[in-house]
């Protein structure tokens, strides 16, 4: 365990300019939250003096990292708050927190009974029980579980994938594996069209982002070590490691070293989202030739919502560029507002109201825009948008795959 009064002094770079406070989506709707500057660098100084200064209201931080994007002094504000939560909070995770964050376990248990589980999660009585007993807000709709896991599908098609001249590894994440294998299949289709076969990592665990935010740091570190081991192996075989989930990508790249103190310098640059990989293959190495692709040429009026964690990575550009390759597309980039879900954050009863308030400007913009559907890289943004608006929300990879003839 790290000793309590040691610090890498990153918080000292803060000039108190307070830009982060203006960008924080939580503070705008919940004055109980001390805010990024105050809960972060300001109070870090006090916590280093005495751990009893830790303010439990820091739990309201949804770890969107918008503060870090806004910070002109390179202070890792979100990380400081996350670490403080893990280090000082006296609040123990509840049963609910356990179920929300152990996605591998819950997914593995649910998949075989997917039709039943999906039906049951839709019943009012189930929602009432989840709300009353577990404090998972009853307004929430749950993502449906898939009967066949993505990994099972991949195993069936492994030989087929080996036929392609090049190979890459896909970190599918829990959502693709347990809930929505179609996104993974779309990715495989695109990569195959470019002449790349897709493999799974030797062993993949949940990236652990929910474990970190719910306080299960030991379990998160264990899973992170497994993932890093698999990624190292893939990298040593000169295979790219790509993801479709922006949050998983941010976790593997940044949360591992900054929050879990795991060194990933050797592989960090090899981890990227699929849309960036495609962009680089088209423009840098010229390995992908778009002119060979055939599109359906169907008119589309869509809007793109930037997930906070993708903005943190600075990579929304690549997803937008991919969408712009589709002919006859009318693409609107929505204002950079947070949707409010924050992974498991918005599922919690105590955060539901604020999550919806945070997302309100985004929902309004979506409803007023008369779009065919919304596009976003993040699965939890998708759930939030689909629950809170009348529109579907689709991953850019799926949009691209479906546009192919």
């Amino acid at each position: 365990m790290e000793s309590i009064n040691k610090s890498d002094n990153n918080f000292e770079q803060c000039l108190k300019c307070t830009i982060c406070t203006v960008y924080c989506p939580v503070l705008a709707v919940n004055p109980q939250f001390p805010g990024p500057k105050h809960g972060g660098p300001d109070q870090e100084r006090l916590r280093l003096k005495m751990p009893s200064f830790y303010d439990e209201a820091n739990k309201y931080c949804m770890n969107c990292k918008r503060c870090e994007v806004a910070c002109p002094s390179n202070v890792r504000i979100g990380d400081i708050i996350q670490k403080a939560k893990l280090k000082y909070s006296r609040h123990r995770p509840s049963v609910r927190d356990f179920f929300l964050s152990h996605t591998d376990l819950v997914g593995t248990l649910s998949s075989p009974f997917a039709p039943l589980v999906n039906k049951a999660l839709g019943w009012n009585v189930t929602k009432q029980i989840l709300d009353g007993v577990l404090k998972v807000d009853r307004h929430r709709t749950f993502p449906k579980y898939s009967h066949e896991k993505f990994t099972s599908w991949m195993k069936k098609h492994a030989d087929e994938q080996k036929q392609y001249p090049h190979q890459l590894c896909y970190f599918h994440g829990c959502y693709v594996n347990y809930n929505f294998p179609d996104l993974g299949k779309d990715l495989v289709r695109i990569m195959n069209a470019f002449g790349y076969g897709v493999e799974l990592l030797e062993e993949e665990k949940c990236c652990g982002v929910a474990l970190i935010s719910n306080g299960f740091v030991g379990q998160a570190r264990k899973q992170a070590e497994t993932n890093l081991k698999s990624i190292r192996k893939a990298v040593s075989q000169e295979k790219a490691v790509i993801l479709t989930s922006s949050t998983c990508a941010m976790t593997l790249r940044d949360e591992y070293p900054h929050v879990l103190n795991l060194d990933n310098k050797d592989v960090r640059d090899h981890i990227e989202i699929a849309t960036r990989f495609i962009y680089r293959m088209i423009h840098e190495t010229k390995a992908f030739d778009v002119s060979k692709l055939k599109f359906r040429n169907r008119p589309l009026k869509i809007a793109y919502h930037t997930p906070c964690h993708l903005e943190k990575l600075g990579w929304e550009y690549y997803s937008l560029e991919l969408l712009r390759l589709i002919p006859n597309i009318n693409l609107t980039v929505l204002k950079p507002n947070c949707c409010g879900i924050g992974g498991t954050y918005g599922f919690k009863k105590e955060n539901y109201e604020n999550a919806q308030k945070i997302g309100a400007p985004l929902f309004k913009e979506i409803e007023e825009g008369d779009f065919d559907f919304i596009v976003s890289d993040c699965e939890t943004c998708k759930w939030q948008i689909e629950m809170s608006t009348s529109k579907k929300c689709i991953h850019p990879i799926s949009v691209f795959a479906q546009a192919l003839d």
């Binding site: 000039l15 108190k16 100084r45 209201a57 002094s73």
Partner: protein
Amino acid sequence: MKIEKLMNEYDVIIIGGGATGAGTLRDCSLRGLKAALIERSDIATGATGRNHGLLHSGARYAVTDQESAQECISENQILRHIARHCVDETDGFFISLPDDDLAFQNKFVASCQMAGIRADVLDPKEALSLEPSMNPSAIGAVRVPDGSIDPFRLTASNIQDAKAHGATVLTYHLVTELLHRQGTITGVRATDMRTGEQTELHAPIVVNACGIWGAHLAQMAGVKISMFPAKGALLIYGHRVNKIVLNRCRKPSDADILVPGDTICLIGTTSTKVPYDEIDNMYVLPEEVEILRKGAQELSPILEKTRILRCYAGVRPLVASDDDPSGRSVSRGIVLFDHEKRDGLKGFITITGGKLMTYRLMAEKATDLVCEKLDVNKKCETAHIKLPGSREEKETTLKKLYSMPISIQESMVYRHGDMAEKMSKNNTINNSLVCECEEVSYGEVSYAIDHMDVHNLIDLRRRTRVGMGTCQGEFCACRAIGILAKQKQICPTREKEELIAFLNERWKGVKPIAWGDSLRESQYASWVYESVCGLGDENKK
């Protein structure tokens, strides 16, 4: 200028609002004397507010000065009891680095034991696990009961208690003349520095508790005290890196004590003789900054990468002993002059020398002499009557602040002990923050302005830590001046002047270490105030 002849009659007048003056005022008041204190500036502005804030165990003096060591350990235990809210019981290490002679450690431990100071030799590895910031190459470590003490709060608390016992406090009053009658001092004439009004105060005894400035007051009274001003510079780091005081286990020298004081830690000191006429104008030189940085990094290597917040220098009131006016044998001990016996001047006594640690003992000695002269037969009780703020368990006070965020609760109780209760009315406005770095609430600022002799922002800083955090007033100064203006009915022109004075005072301490993030932050602050708020024309910083 109007001269008011107020019939201000007292039993005793104390000149000097440092810890010694405040302590003497309290002691006199507790013994039933009608006492007044006069200070030309704010309380705790001289050496009291410009030292290390170290609650000495006495270990530092054990080898060279047994008497001081014994005084320290005895006062150390008393202060933990009577001024608990001003004391942080951190303990201290005396560490030996590879360059230091380990043989000194034996001598040191033996001397500590002789003075009655607990001194436990620790395995350096164990010491490192207790204090991870200490130099890992240490070859020896001794644990002693050092701590840290806040001199501003200590002085303020003495003043509060004295006032509760009927004392009068006149800050911002400059003594212009000592009133004489037939070889006896009978009182003082003072000028109110803010209004220019003159006042006379009368008393059979006047106590000179002016520290280094006492030489000047003595001269005014027609007697001579030889003082040898010694400047000591200190550096403040941006946050509390060590939780245990770190000392070098060697003969006392420059930059060898690192004290965790409240939210920060500070390294000191240097020691340079300065001419008496320069004591009002102390600044820190680049070479002093270098000495301090080097010493600090030897004690705790992480300090090389830690932000330096500011620096300051104070003047030690060293007094030449009467047997040796040349100053060769300068004492750091307590000096009490009965000028009636010494110089044939009745009604005037001087209490000086000593150190912050022994302020209470100095006050006791001075008050004993005052009582003897006034023929008052009352015993000193300051060694066991607790100061306001230290009279209730921390947990009890915390419970009374239920409506506040925990960080504000903790900060307020850390600073004011049980007095915090009066500062929170558990309502939204009082719970809102003025200073975000140091968690100073509106209620705390408001209470200090109304009840703690605050006349400007700099006074307010000494009571509450407004502007003492890493932003050095960037955000809190304009908020605080608004509250001050409202409660003291200050006009907008003076409001601006006060703000400028405060920001310039902050900049003075930052300037010698203005590089890296501290410089960036200062520039940002000046941009906010000069360019955005238009404080530019007047602000020549």
